[in-house]
Amino acid sequence: MAEPKALPPASGHDKLMIGQSKAGIYMAHAILILGILIVAFPIYYTFVASTHSLQTILRPPLPLLPGDRFLENYSEALFGGVGRIGGVSVATLLINTTIVAFGIAIGKIIISILSAYAIVFFRFPGRMFFFWLIFITLMLPVEVRILPTYKVMVDLGLIDTYTGLIVPLIASATATLLFRQFFLTIPGELVEAARVDGAGPWRFFWDILLPLSRTNIAALFVILFIYGWTQYLWPLLVTNRNDMNTIVIALRKMISFADADTEWHLVMVTSMLAIVPPILVVVLMQRWFVRGLVDTEK
């Protein structure tokens, strides 16, 4: 445990490390603001478009200020259903995607934390073999094994099911390695103290390892949730029914090559709604994550 270290008092000089002059500070801020505008403007413009009627969107130029159809557009998309995807509502898509993203994130964490636990804390025959096997799968992206995986899913009758959407993506070599690295930093004495204190393998995992991994789990959850939320190729292959689509796939299906066929106002609404949950997860988990960090470092 590191002792708390006091930061040196911040002097005015430190704050001015980069921009020594006022002009420099203004310059730096101008560049930062410009950068934010460049990144944020498309999202803002999407939001603007989602509050106008289809006619307004199709008749250029698109206004720069939000329109008056916010409630109509959002309720139509969320509860009414979108024609191009067989009248499925965006609410259904959000539920599907939430289930898939949670399933992938939680499943990956459970599987990888348990595999890392086995590899780090147990001596069994073939331990290193399994470790390298997991390591090697890092080199095989989903795309490489997608055909055999698809065949297996078809044979098992898992097309258009949540199981089919989640299970093939649930094993994670990266997360296993991350947990392994973290577990290796846990002092052997702590493991031994727990053994002397009468904690068996399961107790040790539950009472000591899991609470200590809190912050790692939180960080990994954020990353994996977004990974699951933005999956494209696999959900595209494994779902045929519109009501089993994830939001990203549905978004693609909503857009027709013929401009006039596309309900652009609903596409924009769906885009906005697709962004919200990942942002929520990042914002909420970030608070939790920081609290965890503060707790361990204090």
Partner: protein
């Protein structure tokens, strides 16, 4: 409450390295046995074998007359204090101490009673709601002790528990551990590389080197009669002066008592040297001339580092000294204070 018996215990690691090469120790009930030796001598491995954290390759370890070779650490009814304390960082002090009791299925109010009782003994009551990172090194050490005591085990095992404390605190805790161990009357095994800790704490002192016991016995007996040059130079600070003998003669010695034929090394302790003492009282002792190469005044005593008889010797003189670097001094040591060791390093 319990005796600990080791019979020809060995530890061979899978790579073929033999860390402990056949060690037998009998620790009587309520005694504090200190294992001391340089790093890598196998003392920690031995302790971990008693704890059940390492398997025993050969020989037997018995606690309270019962062979425990195949029994896990939990069932051995031992408690261990680790070098880095190994407190659970996410648990409050209270829970750290209660964890082992809860795992054994003790009722809640009994756990509470025991934890609070132990906390009182160790003056930890005001810290019970804190987490380990909010404690100082000394406080963590106390909590680690508390976690061991609260279990009321048959045997305490200490793995260099004081090595992370500063010198002053180490001295305090040393006294405290000794008192506590006496009061509780729990058989204990204590591993250290600090010979001062070893001397002051031990009822039974075991000096280890390279996986073997060099000598075991009462601390002062070992101090008075070291069985080998290794023990002579390990126990005592500063260590015993050892000078090589060439065919029974000491280079540069004025007088030397009769020496056994097979003696290869002569030893005497720094505090057994007398500077400029009366010849008549020292008949049959050692006399040699020494050149002072360094003077270390410590306050209550001073150490003179001298070149003599082809080696470097340390002489302890009480109080302050007027001796300066470069002085030549007559050094005397009485006959009964001399130790002789054979060419194999063993006492003759």
């Amino acid at each position: 409450m319990a005796t600990v018996d080791l019979k020809d215990v060995r530890k061979v690691y899978p790579g073929g390295v033999e860390a402990v090469k056949g060690v037998s120790i009998a620790i009587p009930d309520k005694a504090l046995c200190v294992l001391v030796g340089p790093s890598g001598c196998g003392k920690s491995t031995l302790l971990r074998m008693i704890a059940g954290l390492e398997t025993i390759s050969a020989g037997t370890c018995s606690i309270d007359g019962k062979v425990v070779n195949t029994i896990g650490p939990t069932e051995r009814d031992i408690a261990m204090v680790f070098q880095n304390y190994a407190l659970y960082p996410h648990m409050k002090v209270y829970d750290n101490m209660a964890y082992g009791l809860r795992n054994r299925g003790m009722p809640k109010d009994e756990v509470d009673k025991r934890v609070r009782g132990t906390a009182k003994t160790l003056e930890l009551e005001h810290l019970l709601e804190r987490r380990p990172r909010e404690l100082s090194g000394g406080q963590r050490q106390r909590v680690a002790m508390g976690r061991a005591i609260v279990r009321n085990p048959k045997v305490f095992l200490f793995d260099e528990p004081l090595s992370n404390l500063d010198a002053k605190l180490r001295g305090q805790m040393r006294v405290e551990i000794k008192n506590l161990q006496r009061k509780l009357g729990v058989t204990s095994v204590y591993v250290t590389h600090d010979q001062l800790e070893a001397m002051t704490l031990a009822d039974v002192l075991v000096v280890m080197n390279a996986g073997l016991i060099e000598q075991q016995g009462a601390p002062l007996d070992i101090y008075e009669k070291p069985s080998s040059t290794f023990v002579a130079s390990f126990i005592g600070a500063p260590p015993m002066n050892l000078l090589p003998l060439r065919s029974g003669q000491l280079e540069g010695a004025v007088t030397l008592p009769a020496v056994a034929d097979n003696a290869a090394t002569l030893g005497f302790r720094p505090e057994d040297c007398e500077v400029g003492a009366d010849d008549a009282a020292l008949d049959g002792g050692l006399r040699l001339m020494a050149n002072v190469a360094g003077v270390e005044p410590v306050g209550a005593e001073s150490f003179l580092y001298c070149d003599a008889a082809g080696g470097r010797i340390v002489v302890r003189v009480p109080g302050r000294t007027e001796v300066r670097i470069g002085d030549q001094l007559p050094i005397f040591a009485r006959r009964e204070k001399l130790h002789f060791f054979g060419s194999d390093g063993k006492r003759v």
